[in-house]
C-alpha cells in the first residue's frame, strides 16, 4: 500500500473521518471539539462534514458527558469521547470504571460497550501538576477496559480505528508533545490489531520496552547508542492492556537485557508491571538486572528546569542502556 507522511494529529483525525464515514453510529463528543475543531485541533473539519448531530460540543462536565457516552454506547451508538487532558479523567472515573468497564461482566455478557475515550497525557509543556500526568496505569490496573498509547502516527490511526470498532471500552492516550510529529501512514484502510506490540527498531544488544512518547525518545537514544556500537531493539506494546507479552518476551530472550521506559509515575507504574511479568516468564534469560526508567514520584512541577528532571528524557534512556550493555 502507498504510504505518505502525516502528523500524529492528522493521522488521528483521518481515523475519525474514516470511521465516521464508514459507520453512521460513530460520533464525536467533547469540549470545544466541534466549532473550534478541538483544543488540539484533532477534530478540525469534522463538524463541517458530519454536522452538529455527530460532532457535539459539550459543556464542561466530564462525568456527565462520559456518562452520556456510556448510555449511548449501551444503546447502539459508538461514541468517541474527547476528554481534553487525561488529568480530567479523574472527574469521570466512576463512569469509566464502575459503569463502562464493568457493564459487560455485570450483565452477564449481554451488553456491548463500544465507547472510546480519547485524551492526551504527558509532561514537557509547562502545564504543571494538573495538566501533565500520564495516568494510564489507573486503567491498566482495573479490568474491563482496553488501554492504548500509540507512539507514531500510523499506530495512532490504526489503533484508533480498531478501538472504534471494538465492543469494549477503550482509553486512547495521545501525547500532547507529539501532535505535530510526522511519520509514514499507509494509505487506505489501515488497522492495527488490539493487543499487538510492534518492534520499532530491530537490534541485538538490549531491548527497550517503551510506550507513547518514550518510544520517540527511545528511537533517538538508539541512534546515539548505535554510534557507540550498542544495537538496541525497541518494542512498543502500543496497547498497554491487553499487553502483548509474547513479543516482549521474545525480544528479551534474544537480547537478554531490558530497559523499560514509561512516562507514568514509577511506583506502581507500567515499568513495574512489565518487569514483574518478564520476571514471571523469562527471568532466567536475563544477563543483567532489568532497568526501569519512569517519571519520578512527584507531581509534575511547573518550572521547566524541574519539569525536565521529573520525567524521562533521552539521556536517561541512554544512561540506563549503557549501564546494562
Amino acid at each position: 500500500m502507498a504510504v505518505r507522511e502525516l502528523s500524529y494529529r492528522d493521522a488521528i483525525k483521518e481515523a475519525l473521518f474514516e470511521e465516521m464515514r464508514r459507520d453512521p453510529n460513530v460520533f464525536c463528543i467533547g469540549e470545544d471539539i466541534a466549532r473550534f475543531g478541538g483544543p488540539m485541533k484533532v477534530t478540525e473539519g469534522l463538524l463541517q462534514e458530519f454536522g452538529e448531530e455527530r460532532v457535539v460540543d459539550t459543556p464542561i462536565a466530564e462525568a456527565g458527558f462520559v456518562g452520556i457516552g456510556v448510555g449511548a454506547a449501551m444503546t447502539g451508538l459508538r461514541p468517541v469521547v474527547e476528554v481534553m487532558y487525561n488529568d480530567f479523567l479523574l472527574l469521570a472515573m466512576d463512569q469509566i470504571i464502575n459503569q463502562a468497564a464493568k457493564a459487560s461482566y455485570m450483565f452477564g455478557g449481554k451488553c456491548k460497550m463500544p465507547i472510546v475515550v480519547r485524551t492526551h497525557a504527558g509532561a514537557g509543556r509547562g502545564n504543571a501538576a494538573q495538566h501533565s500526568q500520564s495516568l494510564w496505569m489507573l486503567f491498566v490496573h482495573l479490568p474491563g477496559v482496553i488501554v492504548m498509547a500509540p507512539s507514531t502516527p500510523a499506530d495512532a490511526k490504526g489503533l484508533l480505528k480498531s478501538a472504534i470498532r471494538a465492543d469494549s471500552p477503550t482509553l486512547f492516550f495521545e501525547n500532547k508533545l507529539i501532535y505535530g510529529m510526522k511519520g509514514p501512514v499507509p494509505e487506505g484502510e489501515h488497522l492495527v490489531p488490539i493487543g499487538k506490540a510492534d518492534i520499532k527498531r530491530r537490534g541485538k544488544d538490549v531491548t527497550i520496552v517503551s510506550t507513547s512518547r518514550m518510544t520517540v525518545f527511545a528511537l533517538g537514544a538508539a541512534e546515539k547508542l548505535a554510534a557507540e556500537g550498542i544495537d538496541v531493539e525497541i518494542v512498543d506494546p502500543r496497547t498497554l492492556k491487553p499487553l502483548d507479552l509474547d513479543t516482549v518476551l521474545e525480544s528479551v530472550r534474544k537480547t537478554k537485557r531490558v530497559v523499560i521506559v514509561d512516562e507514568g509515575c514509577r511506583t506502581g507504574g507500567f515499568t513495574a508491571e512489565v518487569a514483574a511479568r518478564i520476571m514471571d516468564e523469562a527471568l532466567d534469560y536475563l544477563d543483567a538486572p532489568m532497568a526501569r526508567v519512569a517519571t519520578e514520584d512527584t507531581p509534575i512541577p511547573y518550572c521547566r528546569k524541574l519539569e525536565l528532571e521529573a520525567f524521562p528524557q533521552e539521556r536517561d534512556i541512554i544512561a540506563a542502556v549503557k549501564k546494562l550493555a
Binding site: 460520533f27 448531530e53 455527530r54 457535539v56 459539550t58 459543556p59 462536565a61 462525568a63 456527565g64 458527558f65 462520559v66 456518562g67 452520556i68 457516552g69 456510556v70 448510555g71 449511548a72 454506547a73 449501551m74 444503546t75 447502539g76 451508538l77 466512576d94 463512569q95 464502575n98 459503569q99 457493564a103 459487560s104 461482566y105 455485570m106 450483565f107 452477564g108 455478557g109 449481554k110 451488553c111 456491548k112 460497550m113 479490568p143 474491563g144 482496553i146 471494538a166 465492543d167 469494549s168 490489531p193 488490539i194 493487543g195 491487553p242 499487553l243 507479552l245
Partner: protein, 347 residues
C-alpha cells in the same frame, strides 16, 4: 398529598384513557412486586441470598405507574432498589430471582446479582450499585434516541438521595440543552439508607431542582399509581415530541429497611405505621373496588395467580445451577478477541 390522589380518583380515572384491563393489570403488577420482594426477603433471611437486597415494598405505585406509561422500546435505568422497576418493565420473575440467587439462569448469569439486573432487550439498562449511577446511562440512551431520530424515550429511576449527586446536575443540563427525551424520576421514599431524607435537603421543594435547566419539575404523590401514570405519561409524550426532559419527584415511603436485615433503629414504629396507612398496593385495591373497576373475585384470582408465579420463580431459581468456575473469566470484554487474549494470559 391526598389532594393529588383525588386528582385522578372517581370520574377522573376515565380521563386517563385506560381500559379496565389495564387498570386491573396495574394492580397485578403492583401486587407482583410486593409479593416478589416479600418472598425475596424471606429467602434472604433464610441465608439463601448473599450480599444486600433492597426491598421495593411501599413504592410499587411508582414503578408501575411509570413503566405503564412507557412503550416496550423505551428504556429505563434503575437503582440498587430496582426489583420493582424491572418487574414493572416486564422482566420475568423467574430469571430475576435466579439472578438474585446467583444462578446461571439469571439475567446476568449470576454475575450481577440483585444490584445489577439488566436486560437490554427489554429496555432495562441495568440496576446500579452506584447512587446516581443510572443517570448518565439513561441520559445517554436518550441521546441515542435523538441521534437516531427514533421516538423512544428513556426514563431514569433514582432515589431522593441520588438528587444530591453531581451527575444529576451535569446530565440534566445537557439533556435540556439538547432536548433529550429523558424523564428523571426521583422516588422520595423518605430515606437515604439510615438517614431521614429531610435532613439532607436545604428545602423540600425538590421539583425546583429542575429550575436551573429550564425544564418542568413536578412533585407528586407517589403512592397514587394513576397519578404517577398520568404525570409520567405527560412527560413522556412531551419528550417524544422533542420538547425535552422533565423531573418528577414522587413522594412515597420505604416500608422496609434500607436492606433486608436493617435493624431500623433510626425510625419509630409509629412513623412506619402511619405511613403504612397509605400503602399503595392495598390503597389501589380499595380504589378498584370502590370505583367498581374490579370485584373481589377478580382480585382474588389475580392474587392467586401472582402467588403461583412467585412460587414458580422461587422453585426455578432454587433449582437452577450455579455458573461453572471458568465463567469467572468470560464476559470481561464484549470484544471477542480481547477476551481471548485475556484468557490466554490466564494460562
Amino acid at each position: 398529598m391526598s389532594k393529588s390522589v383525588n386528582a385522578v380518583d372517581g370520574e377522573a380515572i376515565s380521563d386517563l384513557n385506560l381500559t379496565t384491563e389495564q387498570l386491573v393489570e396495574f394492580y397485578e403488577k403492583m401486587y407482583t412486586i410486593q409479593r416478589f420482594d416479600t418472598e425475596t426477603a424471606k429467602l434472604y433471611q433464610q441465608n439463601l441470598i448473599q450480599g444486600a437486597v433492597h426491598s421495593y415494598v411501599g413504592q410499587e405505585a411508582v414503578a408501575v405507574g411509570a413503566c405503564s406509561a412507557l412503550r416496550q422500546g423505551d428504556y429505563i435505568s434503575s437503582t440498587h432498589r430496582g426489583h420493582g422497576h424491572c418487574l414493572a418493565k416486564g422482566l420475568d420473575p423467574k430469571r430475576m430471582l435466579a439472578e438474585i440467587l446467583g444462578r446461571r439462569t439469571g439475567y446476568c448469569k449470576g454475575k450481577g446479582g440483585s444490584m445489577h439486573i439488566a436486560d437490554l432487550d427489554r429496555g432495562i439498562l441495568g440496576a446500579n450499585g452506584i447512587v446516581g449511577g443510572g443517570i448518565g446511562v439513561a441520559t445517554g440512551a436518550a441521546f441515542t434516541a435523538r441521534y437516531k431520530k427514533l421516538d423512544f424515550v428513556s426514563l431514569c429511576f433514582f432515589g431522593d438521595g441520588a438528587l444530591h449527586q453531581g451527575i444529576f446536575h451535569e446530565c440534566a443540563d445537557m439533556a435540556s440543552l439538547w432536548k433529550l427525551p429523558v424523564i428523571y424520576l426521583s422516588e422520595y421514599n423518605c430515606f437515604a439508607e439510615f438517614t431521614h431524607s429531610v435532613k439532607t435537603f436545604p428545602h423540600l421543594n425538590l421539583e425546583k431542582r429542575a429550575e436551573p435547566y429550564g425544564f418542568p419539575g413536578y412533585r407528586i404523590d407517589g403512592n397514587d399509581v394513576l397519578l404517577v401514570y398520568k404525570t409520567v405519561k405527560q412527560a413522556v409524550d412531551r419528550a417524544r415530541r422533542g420538547e425535552g426532559p422533565a423531573l418528577i419527584v414522587a413522594t412515597c415511603y420505604r416500608l422496609e429497611g434500607h436492606y433486608i436485615g436493617d435493624p431500623l433503629t433510626y425510625r419509630t414504629r409509629e412513623e412506619t405505621e402511619e405511613a403504612r396507612t397509605k400503602e399503595p398496593v392495598s390503597a389501589y385495591r380499595r380504589r378498584l373496588l370502590k370505583n367498581e373497576i374490579a370485584g373481589e373475585e377478580i382480585l382474588w384470582k389475580i392474587e392467586a395467580k401472582v402467588q403461583k408465579t412467585i412460587q414458580e420463580a422461587i422453585d426455578f431459581a432454587l433449582s437452577s445451577p450455579e455458573p461453572e468456575t471458568d465463567e469467572l473469566f468470560t464476559d470481561v470484554y464484549a470484544t471477542p478477541e480481547i477476551q481471548t487474549l485475556l484468557l490466554k494470559g490466564k494460562k
